[in-house]
Amino acid sequence: MRYKFRSALAAVLILSTAAACGDSSTGSAAGGNSKPPIGVDLPRADSDFWNSYAKYVPQFAGELGINMMPPTNSQNDVAKLVANTQALVSQGAKAIVMAPQDTGAIASTLTTLESKKIPVVTVDTRPDKGKVFMVVRADNRAYGQKACEFLGDKLGGKGKVIEFQGSLSSINGRDRSEAFADCMKSKFPGITVFAEPTEWEGAKAAAALQTRLAQHPDIKGIYMQAGGVFLAPTLQVLKSKGLLVPPTDPKHIFAVSNDGIPQEYESIRKGEIDATVSQPADLYAKYALFYAKAALDGKTFQPGPTDHDSTIVDVGNGNLEDQLAAPLVTKDNVDDKTLWGNQI
């Protein structure tokens, strides 16, 4: 009996290893095309924003005529990203598109890639150190800035605001937090800001909101740095406190979000939240691939305005960053068909 179990177990293990191997070998099939292959690593598979990005990548690769290798996924883990990059390179990638969520730990990988003359385009984040061909990124400071101006305006420059910060170990979380704090301090000194650390976790944001509302029932504004994780928990807390009322009601709490996912637009239409900043998932995919292709074609770029409403800026270490526009979406333009959140 025991022997039977063991052999069955062994069979299962062998089969699963074989399946895993079979899976990875399909990756090299892209080599058949004569164009130089471009490797893409997706940062994570558990957020709406990045899933939309993942959907746009093959679509734009087709439009731009790029020989794209099957994308790898690093599951928000910089160690996996390093391993994936090595795998892509050994499979023959001539350029790499990645979105390192840990912007410090990727430096040595970038140095290795540079020594192999493989250009790198980073999406969404700018590495703290190391050479990249181009950073494709929305201006995250503008997110915080726009949220601050919107809330400051709606509150008439006074009152209390709660802010759900992302992770301070990511450059996007830091940029949004700093820009929001700077703007509040300089433009709306009459507003008190409660900045809540959440590590991008909805449960932590909900707990912080409950606690703060008990402590300060007169909170009038909410800034959530990522709608994908904070929207539903925030609405649920407000609903249970009877505070989910239309903007015309004096009890209404003004809420601004960042991301631009369809659920946020739905909430804006219903009057539950008031605005969001749309992070352009489609443009991220399009221009990441565009610059990767340009790098292989030997093109170079200079700081200055581009042909697609954005600006390339020199961000130091000889790196350039294409800062894509991120529109503020309110009740007035929520039905705009060009917003990526309205296209899925």
Binding site: F5, D48, A207, A232, Q236
Partner: protein, 336 residues
Amino acid sequence: MTGTPTVATAPAKPRPRLRLARFRDLALVPAIVVLLVVGAIIDPVFLSKANLVNVLQQQTELSLLVLAEAIILIAGKFDLSLESTIGLAPALALGLVIPSASHGLGTEWPTALAIPLCLLTGAVIGAFNGLLILRFRLSAFIVTLGMLIVLRGLQIGLTGGQNLFDIPPSVLYLGNATWLGLPASIWICAILFAAGILALSFLRAGRAVYAIGGNVDAARAAGIRTDRVVWIVLIIGGLLAALAGLLMTGRLGSVAAAQGQGMIFTVFAAAVIGGVSLDGGKGTLFGALCGVLVLGLINNILTLGGVSAQWIQAIYGAIILAALILARLTSGKAQD
């Protein structure tokens, strides 16, 4: 001569230190009292009913996981996969009932099935863990670590990595409703903890859990069907995790793709602070509950105190260590 009476009377009186040590259960109560005082000093809102209810409600999901983990630890096993069950069970159940436009699986079964399906998923996961651990004789630690990864991966695979927003009201109910002035989830946890404490103290099966965790061979020799008891314990663990998933889904209004991720560390922290031994056979559910309360109060106080984001983790960890030391001093017993 003066020395004699002292020598004679001393052994007759038991030292108070020893007597306290018998109440290992209550080791954390002084720490909780200190936290309540500190909280009240930091902000008067702390002791208001609304705030304390918030603290309890925020800890309900964690407390159910700790209840499950504590029983499993007492039985001498491990279950790391609970943190993935809390996400997968509601995600799978909802996937089967919501339309595919809301990232469902396309089956669109009646929504009334969502809660039974969720609980069933939890029980099946527990039973499968039991199969690998008890029949195949694999290490519980590695089996459940593997399950943790597999289950999280299944959730991301089934939902396409999407957060599920379109939640039927029946699923939202438990995490959201109010019974007799308190959130329903608090009542549920209180009842389950009471049942657990009574069962482990007085029922034959409950005492068997301690016996198995203490010495499995002795327990078997004493006529306890050890494998069956442990298997049931693992199934109960999966069930409780699935229930916790329901409560969390109701409270947060969505199933996040990362729901519960990283929670297992907090679960173990709460159980161990509460005096449950990682080696099995020792600890009480009341102690584990105290551990949950300590962690919840610390979180709440740090938020009320407005501790800066950069320092909050360091301070959180330091306070946990301080609570452990306080528990060690007041109970006078070595921790393991």
